[in-house]
């Protein structure tokens, strides 16, 4: 009998092409997602060496990072450098014969939303992309992680990656979430508890009742931010919800292949007694709606809290907290709900899916924004179309939100959607780093419902208070 294995162990074992004596493995890659910003140098490398893409049918490209989210972008992109990158991706997709969703295609969107939506991402697969938020796909029980451009070139040329196995970490969320608490609050709370380096060297498996109770959209939000906790990847074992989400998608298996796939997927769980090198347990009932106050995703507090003081920390974090508070323009002791917001951004690979838009719209319905500007950027053209069909778009527009086209947008502000210096933003995205959303811009990370609450009050707000009002 073989020793009990974790979900990660099983996926890993099924993808080892070659193992060297020192444990370095050549790992087979099932799906390679590509976007315009981290791929041009990789394709150039192939051209210079006369190499081909080994498996173009397993390679999927979509422009998302720097595309404008305003009308007319399929005709012309004003920013010359952005235009050159998008044109380079067009050409590379054509020249190397890979699957491609250009901006003119309704299926275009953020690469981590398009992959699952089109059924490219399936349980038990290895999925990589030149983007750290590739961890998102772990929600399907796929081993998914970000890679650098040299590795993008390596995967294009060989369909493999040179890897050393990570350690196993279990994050269990027991019980159920309380009303007003969402997947985003789970993932931020985990990072708040473990720190941004707490997962370094590990692959995290998220489990427990609260994780099981999440939709696939919510599970994607949780896994998306595994990288923010330093982990190589985040995983959730597939179950009925996973199969239902996948079935019928354009690139999901059909007929006899579906049955074979399903039988295999049902073996993808952590065996009883399998070893984890690190275990973190959080009670679902203890998680509150949270926001970030600083410039690291670990700077997480319940919305009922106050801005901390640098003296609350130890070691290098004391100086870092001083710097963060200065950058964020906050005073220790101030109530988080007293922080006034200029701008609200709803979108990104963390929270740009239909369920996120529904959660925000439920809070916004019949209300008007009190912030200077508010923007919704759906994660894909298909999410956008569905939100229009469900009447969500009209709720956002009536409330005073801009209703944009799909892309990464203000999450990383490579396109024209940027904060001005000092502008304070409540954002559903994943990073609150200095300058992330624009030089001098100040970011507070939160859930879509919490972002909507901030939009209608003009300051950070406990969404549960608004929910009580509407009952």
């Amino acid at each position: 009998m073989t020793a009990p294995r974790t979900l990660y162990d099983k996926i890993w074992d099924d993808h080892v092409v070659h193992q060297a004596e020192d444990g370095t493995c050549l790992l087979y890659i099932d799906r390679h997602l590509v976007h315009e910003v981290t791929s041009p140098q990789a394709f150039e490398g192939l051209r210079m060496t006369g190499r081909k893409v080994r498996a173009p049918e397993k390679t999927i490209a979509v422009p998302d990072h720097n595309v404008p989210t305003t009308a007319g972008r399929d005709k012309h992109i004003d920013n010359e450098e952005s235009r050159i990158q998008v044109e380079a991706l067009d050409k590379n997709a054509r020249d190397f014969g890979i699957n491609y969703y250009p901006v003119s295609d309704i299926r275009q969107g953020i690469v981590h939303i398009v992959g699952p939506e089109q059924g490219w991402t399936l349980p038990g697969m290895t999925v990589v992309c030149g983007d750290s938020h590739t961890a998102t796909h772990g929600a399907f029980g796929a081993l998914a992680h970000g890679i650098g451009t040299s590795e993008v070139e390596h995967v294009l040329a060989t369909q493999t990656l040179i890897q050393k196995k990570s350690k196993n970490m279990k994050v269990e969320i027991t019980g159920s979430l309380r009303p007003g608490v969402t997947a985003k609050d789970i993932t931020l709370s985990v990072i708040g508890a473990t720190g941004t380096a707490g997962g370094t060297g590990y692959v995290i498996e998220y489990c427990g009742q609260a994780i099981r109770e999440l939709s696939m959209e919510g599970r994607m939000t949780v896994c998306n931010m595994a990288i923010e906790g330093g982990a190589r990847a985040g995983l959730i074992a597939p179950d009925e919800k996973t199969y239902q989400y996948v079935q019928g998608r354009p690139h999901a298996p059909k007929g006899a292949k579906w049955e074979a796939a399903l039988a295999y997927w049902k073996t993808l769980f952590t065996d009883e007694g399998a070893h984890f090198d690190k275990v973190v347990t959080i009670r679902g009932e203890d998680i509150a709606p949270v926001v970030t106050w600083g410039t690291s995703p670990e700077d997480v507090l319940p919305i009922t809290g106050v801005v901390p003081s640098p003296e609350d920390f130890t070691g290098g974090k004391v100086e870092a907290a001083k710097r963060s508070l200065d950058y964020m323009g906050l005073t220790p002791g101030m109530k988080l709900t007293d922080i006034a917001i200029d701008t609200v951004f709803i979108g990104s690979c963390t929270n740009g899916r239909i369920e996120d838009l529904r959660a925000a719209a439920a809070i916004l319905k019949g209300k008007k924004i009190k912030v200077k500007r508010a923007m919704v950027v759906p994660g894909s053209g298909l999410v956008r179309a569905q939100a229009e069909e469900e009447g969500l778009a009209q709720i956002f527009i009536d409330a005073g939100f801009e209703w944009r086209l799909a892309g990464c947008s203000m999450c990383l502000a490579m396109n024209p959607d940027q904060l001005a210096p000092g502008e304070r933003c409540a954002a559903t995205s994943n990073r609150n780093f200095e300058g992330r959303q624009g030089r001098g811009g100040r970011t507070h990370l939160l859930s879509p419902a919490m972002a909507a609450a901030a939009a209608i009050t003009g300051h950070l707000t406990d969404v549960r208070e608004l929910m009580a009002e509407s009952v």
Binding site: D14, V17, H18, D22, T24, L26, Y28, T38, Q41, E44, G45, T49, R51, H65, N66, N79, E81, Q85, L122, G130, D131, S132, G146, I147, G148, T149, S150, E151, H154, A157, T158, Q159, T160, I162, T196, A197, T200, G201, I227, G230, A231, R232, P253, K257, A260, Y264, S296, G316, E319, A320, L412, A413, M414, R431, F433, E434, G435, R436, R439, G440
Partner: protein, 201 residues
């Protein structure tokens, strides 16, 4: 890729923890389709004012550190985005080695692909090297990859760990892709086996 064997150079102290890849190379410089030329924008928003003037206090703007080849950094250096533009910018500036107590996974990996050696040492050792780096340009730190040691300007030597495969590639300046393509037969047979076991993939 340039070989990395030994290096004796100026070490710049950057004690801040969680220095992320957005700090190392802000996104406005990711629009290039080349690998070179990013050194002038390394740490751009910490290094220059909005109108492009150097900020004199920033370590790499100080006369002693303008030619630094090593960075001694706080915990969790390189966290955040997978952008390989971060090691490209470091390399283009002239940095060949970063020393810290910990690195983010993808950044750590990306360094080796570009001839940069990231070294993990204990907090105590990093503190000693940080103090050494703060002495300025006369305090040269030596990194020796074959013997896996870092030596301070006053002769204290610390051993470090490095993966055998990565060490071999750095010492010889080897291209990973070429090495992997030598295993094409193993990839072929994996794909053949996979077509039976997981035909949907």
């Amino acid at each position: 890729m340039d070989k990395f064997i030994t290096l004796t150079g100026i070490a710049a102290p950057m004690p801040l923890v969680n220095i992320d890849t957005d700090m190392i190379i802000p996104k406005q410089f990711l629009k290039t389709i080349q690998r070179s030329g990013l050194g002038k924008n390394l740490f751009d928003e910490m290094r220059y004012t909005q109108d492009g003037q150097e900020i004199p206090d920033f370590v790499l703007n100080q006369p002693a550190y303008r030619k630094a080849e090593i960075i001694v950094a706080g915990d969790n250096f390189g966290c955040g985005s997978s952008r390989e533009h971060a090691p490209w910018a470091l390399l283009d500036f002239g940095i060949r080695c970063v020393i810290s107590t910990s690195f983010a996974d993808i950044f750590f990996n990306n360094c080796f692909k570009n001839g940069i050696l990231p070294i993990v040492l204990s907090q105590e050792q990093v503190d000693i090297l940080m103090a050494d780096a703060k002495k300025g340009a006369n305090a040269r730190v030596t990194v020796d990859l074959p013997s896996q040691t870092v030596t301070t300007s006053d002769g204290q030597t610390f051993p470090f760990e490095v993966d055998a495969h990565r060490k071999h590639c750095l010492l010889n300046g080897l291209d990973d892709i070429g090495l992997t393509l030598e295993k094409a037969a193993a990839i072929d047979s994996f794909e053949a086996r996979n077509a039976t076991l997981r035909p949907w993939a």
